[in-house]
């Protein structure tokens, strides 16, 4: 019961009101009759014979009081306590609110709605004195204080699905209570033993965008920016999919794909005919149960050539590769001509270390003669991380004769390739971006590799890319801009905070955010491009059980939905109202 004291007070107040109403009932009207002889005789006989007549008023008050008490009690939401429920069972209910819980089931409800319903039934059907702790896998509830079932129900209603990705089983306090986990089993969550897992999984069809990237087109292979859309079929059947791209200028692209179950296809989108600015990519398939990954956004960068200055004593590989890049305005200078004040977007130092480093980003090919070593294959070293510089760079056939010791590695340096003892590729983001290659081009077959121009293009892209992220995931987004105003795709203002010269906001769902600061305006797509979401059928609880209806406990017993006492009380009250109406009109009661 929600609040016994409140309910009792309500019932007492109702009874008082009824008593007062009966008390202040107006006196009966006087009617003149020709003679009351017969009436008097009749009443004398009735008074002798009828007990009901004496009890009429009492009966009427009694019915009214029962109705009032029942309704007052019902408003408090009481429960029937069966013999099983008479045992007080505290419980901790962990709700899986990861993104895949937004998948629709055949009944039209999401897995999350089923999960909430199951949790609600557990709470409502439990002993009134039991205490509950509601937790979630996204950390929305931080409190570890157990509450009454009604408070727990309130907490349950506050929970929502999170697309931020960092799902994990919450840290539990040492509590002697039943442990229930309600999930679809898709998210890789390690569940402790002795946990009753309740499945709300139901197979669903889904095709989604699992990757969306954009290339600036600086490499020799493309003169214009291109988009790469990876579409994945998470269904159990072959799906016909239409990929559509639309952007400013009214340009639309549609492409039909056929995808086998659990397969992905990458589609390349030529963005040349689109205007600069945001682009919307969509996938459409029949009976798609998870819509959050059906849309993604990207922003076509501004079309302008970047100025790259190569400082070298002569390197045909670099000169050739840079010359082939259509969107690069390339110039070569001797090491003696180096002037840090020259206007350029990027410096590339070939075996040259300037005394005064430039203020712009630099790509440095270090002098490999400093340290000799036997020829090593790339297999000895590993690629660390998924840095934009190495995107699409395949180094399987690379051989290196000489490596150099890194001149400078700080805690802020990121080793992209190699290891801490022999870093081969280092990226740094300090006051500027810089990439250091720990081997000379002459001492390796890297310039002969197809990956070389891609590496160069990636590096230049990365160095020239804005501080503003091209894509963000759901969750906390930091923009290196002070006091920016943020609007979502629907034009709604997004709440943001300013901290240390940065604007911070929360991307709670896939969207395209418009950032404004003064006259500047740019966009940040927040896409849900993640296999873990798109593969909605990869559930460890895939037993074919109908979602939300079966509770799998330790003993395998099924608990059925129980009728609520409050509805019973309301029903009885309605019946009594009908009875009162009948008895009143039959003049049985007053």
């Amino acid at each position: 019961m929600a609040n016994p004291a409140l309910v009792t007070g309500l019932a007492v107040a109702s009874l008082l009101i009824i008593a007062i109403l009966y008390w202040i009932k107006p006196p009966p009207p006087t009617v003149v009759v020709s003679s009351s002889i017969l009436w008097a005789r009749l009443m004398r006989e009735r008074k002798r014979s009828s007990l009901l007549d004496k009890l009429r008023r009492l009966l009427s008050i009694l019915i009214a009081c029962i109705i009032a008490v029942f309704i007052a009690t019902a408003s408090g939401g009481p429960e029937l306590i069966s013999s099983e429920e008479s045992e007080i069972k505290d419980a901790t209910i962990v709700m899986d609110n990861s993104g895949t819980m937004a998948t629709l089931t055949r009944g039209g409800f999401t897995r999350w709605e089923h999960a909430v319903e199951v949790a609600r039934e557990i709470l409502v059907g439990s002993h009134p004195s039991a205490e509950f702790l509601i937790l979630d896998t996204s950390g929305q509830i931080v409190s570890r204080v157990a509450n009454t079932k009604w408070k727990a129900l309130e907490e349950l209603e506050k929970l929502s699905i999170s697309f931020e990705g960092n799902v994990q089983y919450p840290v539990l306090t040492d509590r002697d209570a039943r442990l229930v986990f309600i999930s679809d089993g898709v998210s890789p969550i390690a569940v402790p033993t002795m946990t009753e897992t309740i499945s709300v999984f139901e197979p669903a069809e889904n095709v989604g965008i699992t990757s969306l990237t954009i290339s600036s087109g600086l490499s020799e292979f493309a003169s214009a920016p291109r988009g790469f859309v990876q579409v994945t079929n998470g269904s159990l059947n072959v799906k016909e999919v239409v990929v559509g791209v639309s952007g400013l200028g009214g340009k639309n692209i549609r492409e039909s794909l056929t995808l086998k179950p659990d397969s992905s296809v990458t589609s390349v989108i030529d963005l040349e005919e689109f205007q600069d600015g945001p682009l919307r990519v969509s996938v459409t398939s029949v009976r798609d149960a998870f819509s959050k990954d059906d849309l993604a956004y990207m922003v076509k960068p501004l079309s302008s050539k970047s100025k790259v200055t190569l400082v070298t004593s002569g390197n045909v590989y670099l000169e050739s590769a840079l010359e082939a890049m259509s969107n690069v305005e390339f110039s070569v200078i001797e090491t003696e001509s180096y002037d840090p004040m020259d206007l350029t977007d990027i410096y590339i130092f070939d075996r040259f270390k300037p005394e005064i480093p430039p203020s712009v980003p630099t790509l440095e090919f270090l002098i490999a003669e400093q340290f000799s070593q036997d020829i090593v294959s790339v297999g000895s070293y590993r690629s660390l991380g998924d840095h934009p510089v190495l995107r699409g760079v395949t180094l399987s056939d690379l051989r290196i004769e000489k490596v150099s010791s890194p001149p400078f590695i700080t805690g802020d340096s990121e080793i992209l390739w190699g290891d801490i003892e022999t870093p081969l590729l280092i990226a740094q983001v300090l006051d500027k971006k810089s990439v250091q290659v720990g081997f000379s081009l002459e001492g390796s077959n890297f310039p002969l590799q197809p990956a070389f121009p891609i590496f160069l293009a990636n590096t230049i892209d990365w160095m020239l890319e804005s501080d503003v992220p091209a894509f963000v995931k759901q969750g906390r987004v930091v923009i290196p801009t002070d006091n920016a105003s943020i609007l979502d795709l629907d034009g709604n203002s997004v709440e943001a905070n300013v901290l240390d010269g940065h604007t911070i906001f929360h991307a709670i769902a896939p969207n395209l955010y418009s950032i404004r600061q003064g006259s500047d305006r740019f966009w940040i797509p927040a896409n849900l491009t993640n296999y873990n979401y798109t593969l909605v059928n990869k559930s460890r609880l895939n037993s074919g059980a109908l979602s939300g209806m079966v509770i799998k406990g330790d003993d395998g017993s099924n608990e059925l939905i129980k009728p609520n006492l409050w509805s019973l009380l309301v029903s009885i009250s309605l019946l009594l109202v009908a009875l009162e109406w009948f008895t009143y009109h039959r003049r049985i009661t007053v």
Partner: protein
């Protein structure tokens, strides 16, 4: 229609908005005609008395001669033939006194039209036919006693007086038939037909009063009037019932079963009067005020007690 008043003045009865208007008088005429057809020959005006006399025109019967009697009526021819002294008796021809008692208690002033108006119309009709039939008609208004009376009248020229008397009657007081009958019949009255037009809502009951009439060897015709609403009252759930005669107040909680019981009691009350009358060979008629009064009067005539 013109009637002659006692001062031989012709008084027009064309009066509107009164109890006995022209329409009413036309109905009386009609009733009178109907009554002639119902009982042929009654217009000779005299009613046969049960009393047998030694003189008269119409032979009735023989009876044995008792010593000391007048021998003038001995049938000598029969004596010669049968050797028995027999006297010839004749029926006494006498006019029948009709005592019309009209309940003028407060309870009669109920309904629309009121029971009292209805009773007066019935009384007027009876008077009219009785007077036309050369009967001696007495009109008595009673409540807790004899309130008002018009002594015996006879002949057509008394119609005006009886109507005037009826119109002048008013309702008041409670009902006591015992006191009324006692008050009226305590002075010597001839045997006749007593017509009581009343609702019979007498706190002391009707039995004692009727017993008194039997004691005085009167013939009774009871006309029991009631208002429809008296039998089927429309009352709220709880009501204070005020008695129009006694002013007493009865608190009643109305229920369907109570209403059923009341109706049963009401019908039982009527039935008890009817049973009593039939047991004594008297006439009884029970009617609501919604019944056209002429229909009721015809019904009275059909019972054969009023017209002989």
């Amino acid at each position: 229609m013109k009637f002659q008043n006692p001062k031989n003045e012709h008084l027009s009865m064309e009066r509107a908005n009164t109890l006995f208007d022209d329409e009413f008088l036309k109905k009386l005429e009609y009733l009178n005609l109907i009554s002639k057809q119902m009982v042929p020959g009654h217009l000779h005006g005299e009613h046969r008395s049960k009393k047998k006399t030694n003189s008269g025109i119409e032979f009735s019967d023989y009876r044995e001669y008792v010593s000391g009697e007048d021998t003038r009526n001995v049938d000598w021819r029969t004596f010669l033939r049968l050797d028995k002294l027999l006297l010839r008796t004749f029926e006494e021809e006498a006019d029948l006194p009709i005592y019309i008692f009209i309940d003028s208690s407060a309870s009669m002033d109920y309904g629309n039209p009121s029971k009292f108006d209805y009773a007066r119309k019935i009384a007027a009709a009876m008077c009219y036919v009785g007077l036309m039939n050369q009967d001696r008609v007495n009109l008595i208004g009673f409540n807790s006693g004899v309130d008002k009376q018009l002594s015996a009248r006879r002949g057509k020229n008394q119609v005006w007086n009886t109507f005037q008397f009826l119109e002048a009657m008013t309702t008041r007081g409670s009902t006591s038939m015992v006191r009324s009958f006692k008050g009226f019949f305590s002075s010597r009255r001839r045997r006749g037909l007593v017509v009581v037009i009343s609702d019979f809502l007498d706190p002391s009951g009707f039995e004692r009063a009727f017993d008194m009439l039997r004691h005085y060897r009167q013939d009774l015709f009871a006309v029991h009037l009631y208002e429809t609403e008296e039998r089927e009252p429309k009352l709220p759930d709880e009501v204070l019932l005020k008695d129009s005669e006694l002013g007493t107040i009865e608190r009643v909680k109305i229920t369907p079963s109570l209403m059923d019981s009341y109706r049963e009691l009401f019908d039982a009350h009527s039935k008890s009067i009817e049973v009593y009358c039939k047991k004594n060979g008297w006439g009884y008629i029970n009617t609501s005020t919604v019944t056209p009064f002429e229909d009721l009067v015809l019904q009275v005539f059909r019972q054969g007690r009023f017209l002989k």
